[in-house]
């Protein structure tokens, strides 16, 4: 049977993501939104495996598989080079994992934001170094089990959306791959703006988070509906807008559905709940007052 590929898709099937991968899902959606007139930079992460190896490429657009910590700097190089070729329309999109963004790639990202480079930077957050087998990083949330935090991580999670917002770039937004329309709308919004745009994509990982792979849509949606991971955007460091009002489902529906959190005690849950509530209240307060940093 001959199958006609969906023209909206900007990547091909047959890639090597794990079965049930929330990151491949997010990548598909981001690429749909950026469109064909784009150039991508991918760095070592699960994304690089999804991109594939020579002589194949999963992407329908030109892509550079750059060095780990250079997603932002490589994308900036391309963006500037295009300007010297009098091309202001081609969209340059940097695609990195959470480690490549909040850890090793942080410097280049901050530098690019400081220079307000005209790129869309997408961080695909599966909350650990998953490609290398689930080691902890600064995006791993508190109490999470990883191979290098067998007793659960003691520290918290770096809030990249806020950090990027503090750079006062035109657009910094949180998204989740399990809210497809919200993600696509935000990427398309980023496309309209000039300067640095940061999109954080929460990407549930069945392999690392330890849940049955088919439940990826539910895990992603529960993260948002329990207020654990709010969906919102910050413009120019000032205007905060919440883009999805959650259903207030119980936090443990999200956390205890994942093997990486199954050891949580009641006290741990309370600690997390307190943090979640505090963040949400702060967020709603800022939305009302157009809080300035």
């Amino acid at each position: 049977m001959y199958r006609e590929y969906d023209t909206r898709d900007n990547m091909y099937p047959g890639h090597l993501a794990c079965s049930g991968c929330g990151e491949a899902l997010g990548l598909k959606l981001v690429l749909q939104a950026v469109g064909r007139n784009s150039i991508a930079v991918v760095v070592p992460s699960c994304l690089a495996i999804i991109l594939g190896s020579y002589p194949h490429s999963t992407f329908k657009i030109p892509v550079l598989h750059a060095a780990f910590e250079t997603a932002a700097s490589s994308a900036a190089g391309i963006s500037n080079a295009l300007l010297t070729q009098a091309d202001e329309d081609t969209v340059v999109v940097a695609l990195a994992g959470d480690g490549g963004t909040s850890d090793i790639g942080f410097q280049a990202l901050s530098g690019a934001a400081d220079r307000n480079e005209n790129i869309i930077y997408c961080c695909f957050d599966n909350e650990a170094y998953m490609n290398t087998g689930n080691q902890v990083n600064s995006s791993t949330p508190q109490f999470a089990w990883t191979m290098t935090t067998p007793l659960g991580k003691t520290g918290g999670k770096k809030n990249m959306v806020e950090i990027m917002g503090s750079h006062k770039i035109p657009y910094s937004a949180s998204t989740c791959s399990c809210f497809p329309d919200d993600l696509r709308i935000k990427v398309m919004e980023a496309k309209k703006l000039k300067g640095m745009k940061y999109i954080h994509v929460l990407s549930p990982c069945p392999t690392g988070w330890r849940y049955p792979e088919r439940l990826t849509p539910n895990i992603g949606r529960l993260a948002v509906e329990t207020k654990y991971y709010p969906l919102y955007e910050i413009r120019s460091g000032r205007e905060v807008k919440i883009t999805h009002y959650p259903k207030n489902l119980p936090l443990k529906d999200y956390l205890l559905a994942q093997g990486r959190f199954k050891h949580l005690t009641q006290k741990d849950l309370e600690v997390i709940q307190k943090e979640v509530d505090r963040n949400w209240n702060e967020l709603t307060r800022r939305e009302d007052q157009n809080y300035t940093y």
Partner: protein, 389 residues
């Protein structure tokens, strides 16, 4: 046009005349005047390139690599800690076969901290697959930068052009600056076949299998080998156009020399003074200054040194646990044909200590008097601090 320029500024002119489209750089002593000169021209609207004032050398190299893969000519400059920070990406750039030209101002590496001339920083990168030139004066710096673009864009390998901290970077000399039109005629625009292009989508720098990887590496080695005659041809063409050629090596009083000094960089320039003086005393001495270090001009060296009785090498650098790099590489190059000639290794000028014509005469003297060349380098001319024969 003849201008009184520092090495930094001369190199800056070289870069500007080559008309790169993207310049990504980060300041580090003693490269800063070069970076600042480019910025000044940029602010005056005469630079032509788009400058990316990035937040580290690593990002500078990353930006140059991706910009180059987008099909534009790129330039950067750094020194010491900066080139060390780029190390990972230097491998990447040559593996990606992008013709970046980078000026490196040789400066000693921490720890401890020093700011003066030492060649160890760029020599530490000798395995990264970049072409390397070591210049001895500001004119050579300017001319080599322009030549480097033509060579790089022919063999598709990046090039490092080295100056020396303060000895050439800040020293001012009269320099002949060619006019833009002549340089345009010599160096056409960069138009690569393969580039990131939405009209021809492709993936660059993918994961490869073992055998494919080996293929890429062997190809790169072959390009390096080609670079020898390409460098020679470009240099000859440059000489025809601009009246100045340098060759892969500089030979000074080499033809009938019995004791030959091999060195690179400014020590070569100082050596000419010493050799003049020794020649007046009737000593049959000569100089071979290595200009092109990578690819290493082995055949040429064998050919040029075959009549020498003794060879002394002065390295303003050291690979700890071995010896000076130029000495080591020379010995390795000569071994197959000229292993009868004793090679005396001297490591002088580490950290930017001044190497005077007196020191060089001492080197010749020691070389002349010693029967057998020591295994380890001589690091102290007074005490001849040497271990082992």
């Amino acid at each position: 046009m003849r201008l009184f320029l520092s090495g930094n500024h001369a190199a800056a002119y070289g870069a500007r005349l080559a008309k790169p489209q993207i310049i990504a750089a980060y300041p580090i002593t003693p490269q800063t005047p070069l970076y600042e000169k480019l910025s000044e021209w940029d602010s005056q609207g005469v630079l032509g390139a788009r400058m990316m004032k990035v937040e580290s050398e690593h990002s500078a190299m990353a930006a140059c690599i991706s910009a180059s893969l987008t099909g534009v000519r790129t330039f950067t400059a750094t020194s010491s800690q900066g080139i060390a920070l780029m190390h990972e990406l230097l491998h990447y750039a040559s593996g990606a076969r992008v013709p970046i030209v980078m000026v490196n101002v040789n400066r000693s590496l921490a720890a401890p901290w020093g700011f003066w001339s030492e060649q160890t920083d760029s020599l530490s990168q000798r395995d990264t697959g970049w072409l390397q030139f070591y210049t001895a004066d500001n004119q050579e710096a300017l001319d080599t930068v322009i030549q480097a673009y033509k060579i790089s864009e022919t063999v598709f390998l990046p090039t490092i052009v080295s100056l020396e901290a303060f000895l050439t970077s800040h020293l001012m000399e009269p320099v002949e600056v060619p006019d833009q039109k002549s340089v345009d005629a010599f160096l056409p625009p960069f138009e690569p076949v393969f580039k990131l292009d939405t009209n021809k989508p492709a993936a660059f720098c993918q994961i490869v299998s073992q055998s494919e990887y080996a293929k890429f590496r062997i190809n790169r080695q072959m390009a390096m080998e080609d670079a020898l005659q390409v460098t020679e041809a470009v240099d000859k063409e440059y000489e025809r156009e601009f009246g100045r050629g340098y060759g892969l090596i500089e030979c000074y009083h080499l033809n009938d020399a019995e004791n030959v000094l091999v060195t690179a960089g400014t020590i070569g320039s100082t050596a000419r003074v010493a050799i003049d003086e020794l020649r007046e005393e009737g000593k049959k001495v000569g100089l071979l200054r290595i200009r092109l270090f990578r690819p290493f001009p082995k055949t040429l060296l064998i050919e040029s040194l075959k009549h020498a009785k003794k060879i002394a090498v002065i390295d303003r650098n050291i690979s700890p646990g071995q010896e000076g790099v130029f000495c080591e590489e020379l010995k390795s190059a000569l071994y197959s044909r000229l292993n009868g000639i004793p090679v005396f290794g001297f490591v002088l000028g580490l950290g930017g200590i001044n190497v005077s014509p007196e020191h060089i005469k001492q080197v010749f003297d020691i070389t002349d008097k010693m029967d057998n060349a020591p295994v380890n380098p001589i690091v102290d001319l007074e005490n001849k601090n040497v271990s082992g024969i």
